[in-house]
Amino acid sequence: MSVSITVGAYGVAFGAAAVANGFTVVQACLLSLLTFSGASQFAVVGVIGAGGSAISAIATASLLGVRNALYGVIMAPHLKVRGLKRVVAAQITIDESTGVALGQEPRGIVAMRKGFWYTGIGVFVFWNLFTLAGALGAQAMGDIRAFGLDSAVPAAFLGLVWPRLTGNFERALAVGCALFAIAMTPILPAGLPIIATAFIAIAVGLKR
Protein backbone atom coordinates (compact mmCIF):
# COMPACT_ATOMS: atom_id res chain seq x y z
CA MET A 1 0.00 0.00 0.00
CA SER A 2 2.70 2.50 0.97
CA VAL A 3 4.58 1.49 -2.20
CA SER A 4 1.47 2.37 -4.22
CA ILE A 5 1.08 5.82 -2.64
CA THR A 6 4.74 6.62 -3.18
CA VAL A 7 4.58 5.44 -6.78
CA GLY A 8 1.43 7.54 -7.26
CA ALA A 9 3.19 10.65 -5.96
CA TYR A 10 6.18 10.10 -8.26
CA GLY A 11 3.79 9.48 -11.16
CA VAL A 12 1.94 12.74 -10.59
CA ALA A 13 5.26 14.57 -10.26
CA PHE A 14 6.49 13.03 -13.52
CA GLY A 15 3.31 13.79 -15.49
CA ALA A 16 3.38 17.38 -14.27
CA ALA A 17 7.13 17.73 -14.92
CA ALA A 18 6.78 16.43 -18.48
CA VAL A 19 4.04 18.91 -19.37
CA ALA A 20 5.87 21.72 -17.56
CA ASN A 21 8.88 21.07 -19.79
CA GLY A 22 6.89 21.22 -23.03
CA PHE A 23 5.84 17.60 -23.60
CA THR A 24 2.23 16.89 -24.56
CA VAL A 25 -0.04 14.78 -22.35
CA VAL A 26 0.18 11.96 -24.92
CA GLN A 27 3.98 12.05 -24.93
CA ALA A 28 4.06 12.04 -21.12
CA CYS A 29 1.79 8.99 -21.05
CA LEU A 30 3.78 7.19 -23.76
CA LEU A 31 6.98 7.71 -21.77
CA SER A 32 5.35 6.09 -18.75
CA LEU A 33 3.88 3.23 -20.79
CA LEU A 34 6.90 2.49 -22.96
CA THR A 35 9.99 3.70 -21.08
CA PHE A 36 8.53 2.82 -17.67
CA SER A 37 11.57 3.73 -15.58
CA GLY A 38 11.18 6.74 -13.30
CA ALA A 39 14.67 8.19 -13.23
CA SER A 40 15.11 7.80 -17.02
CA GLN A 41 11.78 9.50 -17.69
CA PHE A 42 12.57 12.42 -15.38
CA ALA A 43 15.95 12.72 -17.10
CA VAL A 44 14.42 13.02 -20.58
CA VAL A 45 12.10 15.84 -19.58
CA GLY A 46 14.83 17.45 -17.48
CA VAL A 47 17.38 17.55 -20.29
CA ILE A 48 14.84 18.74 -22.87
CA GLY A 49 13.55 21.31 -20.35
CA ALA A 50 17.11 22.62 -19.94
CA GLY A 51 17.24 23.15 -23.71
CA GLY A 52 19.15 19.97 -24.55
CA SER A 53 18.86 18.07 -27.84
CA ALA A 54 16.96 14.82 -28.33
CA ILE A 55 20.27 12.94 -28.49
CA SER A 56 21.45 14.36 -25.14
CA ALA A 57 18.09 13.49 -23.59
CA ILE A 58 18.15 9.92 -24.93
CA ALA A 59 21.78 9.41 -23.88
CA THR A 60 21.18 10.66 -20.33
CA ALA A 61 18.04 8.56 -19.91
CA SER A 62 19.73 5.48 -21.34
CA LEU A 63 22.72 5.75 -18.98
CA LEU A 64 20.22 5.74 -16.12
CA GLY A 65 18.45 2.76 -17.71
CA VAL A 66 21.56 0.55 -17.67
CA ARG A 67 20.62 -0.28 -14.10
CA ASN A 68 17.54 -2.13 -15.35
CA ALA A 69 19.72 -4.37 -17.51
CA LEU A 70 21.62 -5.40 -14.39
CA TYR A 71 18.33 -6.13 -12.64
CA GLY A 72 17.39 -8.33 -15.60
CA VAL A 73 20.61 -10.28 -15.17
CA ILE A 74 19.74 -10.88 -11.52
CA MET A 75 16.08 -11.79 -12.18
CA ALA A 76 16.39 -13.97 -15.31
CA PRO A 77 17.67 -17.13 -13.55
CA HIS A 78 14.80 -16.90 -11.05
CA LEU A 79 12.00 -16.17 -13.52
CA LYS A 80 13.03 -18.54 -16.32
CA VAL A 81 10.60 -17.13 -18.88
CA ARG A 82 10.61 -17.19 -22.69
CA GLY A 83 8.85 -15.54 -25.62
CA LEU A 84 6.14 -13.00 -24.90
CA LYS A 85 6.37 -13.59 -21.16
CA ARG A 86 10.02 -12.57 -21.27
CA VAL A 87 9.06 -9.37 -23.11
CA VAL A 88 6.55 -8.51 -20.36
CA ALA A 89 9.00 -9.47 -17.62
CA ALA A 90 11.66 -7.24 -19.20
CA GLN A 91 9.30 -4.26 -19.37
CA ILE A 92 8.45 -4.51 -15.65
CA THR A 93 12.06 -5.08 -14.56
CA ILE A 94 12.58 -1.93 -12.45
CA ASP A 95 13.84 -0.89 -9.00
CA GLU A 96 10.62 -1.83 -7.19
CA SER A 97 9.88 -5.25 -8.74
CA THR A 98 13.49 -6.41 -8.42
CA GLY A 99 13.73 -5.06 -4.86
CA VAL A 100 10.57 -6.82 -3.69
CA ALA A 101 11.54 -10.08 -5.43
CA LEU A 102 14.98 -10.10 -3.78
CA GLY A 103 13.34 -9.35 -0.44
CA GLN A 104 11.28 -12.53 -0.86
CA GLU A 105 14.35 -14.68 -1.61
CA PRO A 106 14.44 -16.38 1.83
CA ARG A 107 10.83 -17.50 1.32
CA GLY A 108 11.55 -19.42 -1.85
CA ILE A 109 11.32 -19.16 -5.61
CA VAL A 110 7.50 -19.06 -5.78
CA ALA A 111 7.32 -16.08 -3.38
CA MET A 112 10.07 -14.37 -5.37
CA ARG A 113 8.25 -14.75 -8.65
CA LYS A 114 4.99 -13.62 -7.11
CA GLY A 115 6.69 -10.57 -5.61
CA PHE A 116 8.22 -9.67 -8.97
CA TRP A 117 5.05 -9.99 -11.06
CA TYR A 118 2.60 -8.42 -8.58
CA THR A 119 4.89 -5.50 -7.81
CA GLY A 120 5.88 -4.91 -11.43
CA ILE A 121 2.33 -4.99 -12.76
CA GLY A 122 0.92 -3.04 -9.78
CA VAL A 123 3.50 -0.28 -10.15
CA PHE A 124 2.91 -0.22 -13.92
CA VAL A 125 -0.82 0.41 -13.46
CA PHE A 126 -0.40 3.05 -10.73
CA TRP A 127 2.48 4.79 -12.44
CA ASN A 128 0.57 5.22 -15.69
CA LEU A 129 -2.72 6.35 -14.10
CA PHE A 130 -0.97 8.94 -11.97
CA THR A 131 1.19 10.14 -14.86
CA LEU A 132 -2.02 10.93 -16.75
CA ALA A 133 -3.45 12.74 -13.70
CA GLY A 134 -0.27 14.81 -13.24
CA ALA A 135 -0.02 15.67 -16.93
CA LEU A 136 -3.65 16.77 -17.15
CA GLY A 137 -3.28 18.78 -13.93
CA ALA A 138 -0.21 20.61 -15.20
CA GLN A 139 -1.88 21.26 -18.56
CA ALA A 140 -4.77 22.95 -16.75
CA MET A 141 -2.41 25.28 -14.85
CA GLY A 142 -1.19 27.66 -17.54
CA ASP A 143 1.75 29.53 -15.96
CA ILE A 144 3.50 26.66 -14.19
CA ARG A 145 5.70 29.02 -12.15
CA ALA A 146 2.62 30.37 -10.36
CA PHE A 147 2.08 26.84 -9.02
CA GLY A 148 5.73 26.21 -8.17
CA LEU A 149 6.08 23.44 -10.74
CA ASP A 150 9.42 24.87 -11.89
CA SER A 151 10.75 24.04 -8.40
CA ALA A 152 8.89 20.75 -8.05
CA VAL A 153 10.98 19.27 -10.89
CA PRO A 154 14.45 19.80 -9.34
CA ALA A 155 12.98 18.88 -5.95
CA ALA A 156 11.85 15.56 -7.44
CA PHE A 157 15.39 14.93 -8.76
CA LEU A 158 16.78 15.76 -5.33
CA GLY A 159 14.31 13.31 -3.78
CA LEU A 160 15.47 10.63 -6.21
CA VAL A 161 19.18 11.10 -5.55
CA TRP A 162 18.96 11.63 -1.77
CA PRO A 163 18.58 7.96 -0.71
CA ARG A 164 21.64 7.08 -2.83
CA LEU A 165 23.91 9.45 -0.88
CA THR A 166 24.86 6.79 1.63
CA GLY A 167 28.40 7.92 2.44
CA ASN A 168 30.85 10.82 2.22
CA PHE A 169 32.20 9.53 -1.08
CA GLU A 170 28.74 9.55 -2.67
CA ARG A 171 27.94 12.97 -1.22
CA ALA A 172 31.21 14.42 -2.52
CA LEU A 173 30.50 13.00 -5.98
CA ALA A 174 26.99 14.52 -5.94
CA VAL A 175 28.20 17.99 -4.92
CA GLY A 176 31.11 17.82 -7.37
CA CYS A 177 28.83 16.86 -10.27
CA ALA A 178 26.29 19.56 -9.38
CA LEU A 179 29.01 22.24 -9.32
CA PHE A 180 30.53 20.91 -12.55
CA ALA A 181 27.17 21.02 -14.34
CA ILE A 182 26.55 24.61 -13.20
CA ALA A 183 30.04 25.72 -14.19
CA MET A 184 29.70 24.14 -17.66
CA THR A 185 26.16 25.39 -18.37
CA PRO A 186 27.20 28.74 -19.91
CA ILE A 187 30.02 27.06 -21.89
CA LEU A 188 28.79 23.73 -23.28
CA PRO A 189 25.65 23.22 -25.42
CA ALA A 190 22.58 22.46 -23.27
CA GLY A 191 22.35 18.85 -22.13
CA LEU A 192 26.08 18.13 -22.38
CA PRO A 193 26.95 19.42 -18.87
CA ILE A 194 24.59 16.75 -17.54
CA ILE A 195 25.85 13.82 -19.64
CA ALA A 196 29.45 14.80 -18.96
CA THR A 197 28.95 14.01 -15.28
CA ALA A 198 28.29 10.36 -16.18
CA PHE A 199 31.88 10.21 -17.42
CA ILE A 200 33.04 11.64 -14.10
CA ALA A 201 31.18 8.77 -12.42
CA ILE A 202 32.76 6.20 -14.78
CA ALA A 203 36.26 7.62 -14.25
CA VAL A 204 35.84 7.68 -10.48
CA GLY A 205 34.35 4.17 -10.47
CA LEU A 206 37.21 2.73 -12.51
CA LYS A 207 39.88 4.27 -10.30
CA ARG A 208 38.35 3.43 -6.96
Binding site: T6, L31, S37, A76, P193, A201
Partner: protein, 102 residues
Protein backbone atom coordinates in the same frame (compact mmCIF):
# COMPACT_ATOMS: atom_id res chain seq x y z
CA UNK B 1 9.31 14.28 -36.16
CA UNK B 2 9.97 16.86 -33.52
CA UNK B 3 12.68 16.81 -30.86
CA UNK B 4 10.08 15.82 -28.29
CA UNK B 5 8.87 12.83 -30.29
CA UNK B 6 12.39 11.64 -31.04
CA UNK B 7 13.26 11.94 -27.33
CA UNK B 8 10.08 10.14 -26.28
CA UNK B 9 10.33 7.20 -28.67
CA UNK B 10 14.13 6.94 -28.71
CA UNK B 11 14.30 6.77 -24.93
CA UNK B 12 11.52 4.19 -24.83
CA UNK B 13 13.18 1.96 -27.42
CA UNK B 14 16.58 1.98 -25.73
CA UNK B 15 15.02 1.58 -22.27
CA UNK B 16 13.29 -1.60 -23.43
CA UNK B 17 16.36 -2.96 -25.23
CA UNK B 18 18.40 -2.45 -22.05
CA UNK B 19 15.81 -4.27 -19.93
CA UNK B 20 15.46 -7.11 -22.43
CA UNK B 21 19.21 -7.51 -22.89
CA UNK B 22 19.58 -8.01 -19.14
CA UNK B 23 17.25 -11.00 -19.37
CA UNK B 24 19.08 -12.41 -22.38
CA UNK B 25 22.85 -11.90 -22.14
CA UNK B 26 25.15 -14.24 -20.20
CA UNK B 27 25.41 -13.17 -16.57
CA UNK B 28 29.19 -12.78 -16.52
CA UNK B 29 29.03 -9.86 -18.99
CA UNK B 30 27.34 -7.56 -16.53
CA UNK B 31 28.18 -8.93 -13.11
CA UNK B 32 31.76 -7.61 -13.04
CA UNK B 33 32.31 -5.65 -9.77
CA UNK B 34 33.55 -2.56 -11.63
CA UNK B 35 30.41 -2.52 -13.77
CA UNK B 36 28.31 -2.80 -10.61
CA UNK B 37 30.18 0.02 -8.91
CA UNK B 38 29.99 2.39 -11.87
CA UNK B 39 26.31 1.54 -12.21
CA UNK B 40 25.72 2.73 -8.65
CA UNK B 41 27.62 5.98 -9.24
CA UNK B 42 26.09 7.05 -12.57
CA UNK B 43 22.62 7.86 -11.18
CA UNK B 44 24.22 9.93 -8.40
CA UNK B 45 26.21 11.97 -10.93
CA UNK B 46 23.40 12.49 -13.46
CA UNK B 47 20.65 13.23 -10.94
CA UNK B 48 22.85 15.70 -9.03
CA UNK B 49 23.69 17.48 -12.27
CA UNK B 50 19.99 17.61 -13.16
CA UNK B 51 19.11 19.10 -9.75
CA UNK B 52 21.70 21.83 -10.28
CA UNK B 53 20.82 22.65 -13.89
CA UNK B 54 17.07 22.63 -13.25
CA UNK B 55 17.47 24.88 -10.20
CA UNK B 56 19.94 27.48 -11.44
CA UNK B 57 19.70 27.76 -15.21
CA UNK B 58 17.42 29.05 -17.92
CA UNK B 59 18.59 27.56 -21.24
CA UNK B 60 22.33 28.38 -21.30
CA UNK B 61 22.23 31.15 -18.69
CA UNK B 62 22.68 30.87 -14.96
CA UNK B 63 19.85 32.55 -13.08
CA UNK B 64 18.82 33.03 -9.46
CA UNK B 65 15.04 33.09 -9.03
CA UNK B 66 12.19 31.60 -6.97
CA UNK B 67 13.52 28.07 -7.63
CA UNK B 68 16.43 28.72 -5.22
CA UNK B 69 13.87 29.03 -2.44
CA UNK B 70 12.03 25.90 -3.60
CA UNK B 71 15.12 23.71 -3.78
CA UNK B 72 16.38 25.02 -0.42
CA UNK B 73 13.09 24.13 1.24
CA UNK B 74 13.22 20.68 -0.40
CA UNK B 75 16.73 20.17 0.99
CA UNK B 76 15.59 21.08 4.50
CA UNK B 77 12.62 18.70 4.14
CA UNK B 78 14.96 15.86 3.12
CA UNK B 79 17.27 16.57 6.07
CA UNK B 80 14.18 16.27 8.27
CA UNK B 81 13.48 12.88 6.63
CA UNK B 82 10.22 14.04 5.03
CA UNK B 83 8.63 11.59 2.55
CA UNK B 84 8.85 12.29 -1.20
CA UNK B 85 5.40 13.90 -1.65
CA UNK B 86 6.10 16.39 1.17
CA UNK B 87 9.49 17.24 -0.32
CA UNK B 88 8.02 18.05 -3.73
CA UNK B 89 4.96 19.86 -2.36
CA UNK B 90 6.94 22.03 0.06
CA UNK B 91 9.27 23.05 -2.79
CA UNK B 92 6.33 23.90 -5.04
CA UNK B 93 4.41 25.87 -2.41
CA UNK B 94 7.39 27.94 -1.24
CA UNK B 95 8.50 28.66 -4.80
CA UNK B 96 4.98 29.63 -5.89
CA UNK B 97 4.65 31.91 -2.86
CA UNK B 98 7.84 33.77 -3.79
CA UNK B 99 6.84 33.98 -7.48
CA UNK B 100 3.33 35.25 -6.79
CA UNK B 101 3.90 37.62 -3.89
CA UNK B 102 7.44 38.98 -4.07
Amino acid sequence: MTTLWIATLGTSLIAFLLKYSGHSVPERWLSHPKVQRINALIPIALLSALVAVQSFSEKSQLVIDQRVVGISVATVALFLKAPFPIVVLSAAISSAAVYNWL
